[in-house]
């Protein structure tokens, strides 16, 4: 009888949890509309409209000074927007209810260095409102997750930059958050540390956590993100699924005996961003099926085709092209 009741109760709890998860999953984790921030005469973020679906790893990319950190600060409620709307987990970002479900690793990762690693996590766990009993298991678990279990009783002042970044990451996961903001999480890390952060991000994603990642290490972003937004001068100029972006943008290199204007014109119809450099030509095509078309075009023009190389374009190349060439406000 008792066992049946327990099973029934457990079943109800699981169902309730699933319903709650579905509810959280259906609404976007973050949404902003026409978000703007001015510091006196300086406009840090111009007009930012963004939607981050729940449960995804979202990369936030842009050159220095594009307004990425200011945006994160607005999303965390550190900075009040001058204009526009912002919603984080369905709440205003300054509200404690939104923060209770959010984790944050700031860009500067400066912490109270006179605390020991274990104490640091315990203090911040208390600020999340976690019970002492929970912290007893949560703190060692997180220290192990970021490979700092042997430094639990070491003061943060004796930590290296990479160790500080990892303890900061652990701090951002204390409350089993639904949404984690990671502002340059791998800037101080060696390759092993970067792999560790990547593993942590994968684990978080498996648990259904939404991750908002701001990073300049595009190879990391390429490996971890489901979706990316490109931001320039405080505006989102493009948002794309990572798989679409990488597949769509195949870069093709040609070497021909001569590159008359007719070739460039013809290629312009087949792809984008045609660049002619002597007898070498490159362009971006949206599908590998275009490659034979390029060969046919050179034949039709009576040109000699020495090389035709389709290649996978790296995110870094895509980033440079988009930031250098895309028109502002050209939202895809």
């Amino acid at each position: 009888m008792c066992l049946e009741w327990l099973q029934e109760n457990r079943h109800l709890k699981i169902n309730a949890h699933r319903k709650l998860s579905r509810k959280i999953m259906t609404q976007p984790a973050i949404s902003t509309a026409n978000l703007r921030k001015e510091y006196g005469q300086t406009v840090a973020v111009q007009d930012l409209t963004l939607t981050v679906p729940a449960g995804e790893v979202f990369g936030f990319l842009g050159p220095n000074g594009a307004g990425k950190s200011t945006t994160i600060k607005m999303l965390m409620g550190l900075v009040t927007p001058t204009a526009g709307q912002v919603s984080v987990l369905g709440q205003s970002p300054g509200r404690p209810a939104a923060r209770a479900k959010t984790g944050f690793l700031p860009e500067h990762f400066r912490f109270h260095e006179w605390l020991k690693a274990k104490e640091f996590l315990t203090v911040h766990g208390k600020l999340y409102g976690l019970a002492a009993e929970t912290l007893k298991t949560q703190v060692p678990r997180l220290l192990e997750m970021v490979s700092l279990q042997d430094s639990a009783d070491t003061r943060l002042s004796n930590f290296s930059k990479g160790m500080l970044q990892r303890i900061g990451l652990a701090q951002a996961m204390l409350n089993n958050p639904a949404l984690v903001f990671l502002d340059e999480p791998t800037s101080g890390l060696d390759p092993l540390g970067r792999r560790l952060v990547r593993d942590v991000i994968h684990r978080l994603k498996e648990e259904g956590t939404t991750i908002f990642l701001n990073s300049h290490l595009l190879s990391e972003v390429e490996k971890t993100c489901d979706r990316v937004a490109f931001i320039k001068k405080g505006r989102v100029i493009r948002t794309d699924r990572m798989s679409d972006l990488l597949n769509r943008a195949t870069e093709v290199h040609l070497r021909v005996d001569a590159a008359p204007p007719a070739l460039a014109e013809g290629l312009q119809k087949l792809g984008r961003q045609v660049q002619v450099n002597g007898n070498r030509v490159s362009l971006l095509v949206d599908s590998p099926e275009i490659v034979p078309e390029i060969a046919r075009l050179t034949m039709q023009l009576g040109l000699k085709l020495y090389e035709l190389q389709p290649g996978q374009t790296s995110l870094e190349e895509i980033f440079v092209r988009i930031i250098e060439t895309e028109a502002e406000g050209d939202l895809v």
Partner: protein
């Protein structure tokens, strides 16, 4: 409760940064120096007492007077140390955390920002109370064990010293919400300078019967009432004989009204609320 977590963090910071040991060690050195100085001055004076002190009861009154004067002079130094300690420990409490960015991991937790301001203020206030009890209580005990003299109104006097420190603390807490540490320190010390100078202008003006000078002093004490709290504390803790003798440096020529205490409490609360108001709204 998150406010108390911030308070305990403030204690731990003082402990870890050796503030506690430095204050205790140098405080003990101060008390020892005072005890030795007091002892030898007493030995010297008692070797050649003035005429009226040569009888038994006369001698008792004389020793009380000397002890009372010495205690107030010691407390004068403590009052100065209280202001210094309050200003130095609190000027960077919030400003330093903002400039070093450590504030970001605190304010992004699910706690209201005012918990951080009041939590820190509370932690520093408790440390201030401990410091005043240790230093002023220490001086009182040194004098008591040497001569058996005990000052009038010790609790009220020490409370006013605490109030003096709390005023400084509240201004520094307010300044720290929008000024960098250095500028905040300058703000607090300049205000203290106004209060200090104003207090002397008031006393000298009263002695010379210059009403304008007294008015200037009163205005200064309204701008910054900390020094007035010391004046009132010293007036409460000195024997009647000194009050009547118009002893330079410690006697009051112009007595502040009791309403100044209410004003001072209101003053510090206004600064504290202003600190919360500014910190709640500022970008970090």
């Amino acid at each position: 409760m998150s406010l108390l977590t911030i308070t305990s963090l403030t204690f731990r910071e003082a402990w870890r940064k050796k503030l506690f040991w430095v204050a205790l060690g140098l405080g003990l050195a101060f008390l020892a120096l005072f005890a030795v100085g007091f002892h030898y001055v007493l030995v010297d004076i008692l070797a050649h007492p003035p005429g009226e002190a040569r009888t038994g009861p006369g001698m008792k009154i004389f020793i009380s007077q000397i002890s009372g004067i010495f205690l107030i002079l010691g407390l004068f130094a403590v009052n100065f140390l209280v202001v210094m300690m309050s200003a130095l420990t609190s000027a960077g409490a919030i400003a330093g955390e903002i400039s070093s960015h450590t504030i970001q991991t605190l304010v992004t937790k699910p706690i209201p920002r005012w918990h951080i301001v009041l939590g820190k203020w509370l932690g520093q206030s408790v440390m201030l109370v401990i410091y005043v009890i240790f230093m002023a209580g220490g001086l009182t005990l040194v004098v008591y064990f040497r001569t058996g003299y005990f000052p009038p109104n010790p609790a009220a006097g020490m409370s006013l010293l605490v109030l003096e420190g709390l005023i400084v603390l509240s201004i520094a807490t307010f300044g720290g919400t929008f000024l960098p540490t250095m500028a905040n320190g300058v703000l607090v010390f300049m205000l203290y300078g106004i209060a200090f100078a104003g207090s002397w202008v008031e006393q000298i003006g009263a002695a010379l019967k210059s009403e304008t000078a007294v008015q200037v002093g009163i205005i200064a004490s309204l701008i910054m009432p900390s020094e007035t709290m010391w004046r009132m504390a010293s007036d409460l803790m000195q024997p009647k004989l000194i009050q009547e003798a118009a002893f330079p440096l410690i006697s009051l020529y112009s007595k502040p009204s009791q309403a100044m205490i209410v004003y001072a409490v209101g003053y510090l609360l206004v600064f504290l609320m202003a600190a919360v108001y500014v910190f709640e709204r500022r970008d970090l």
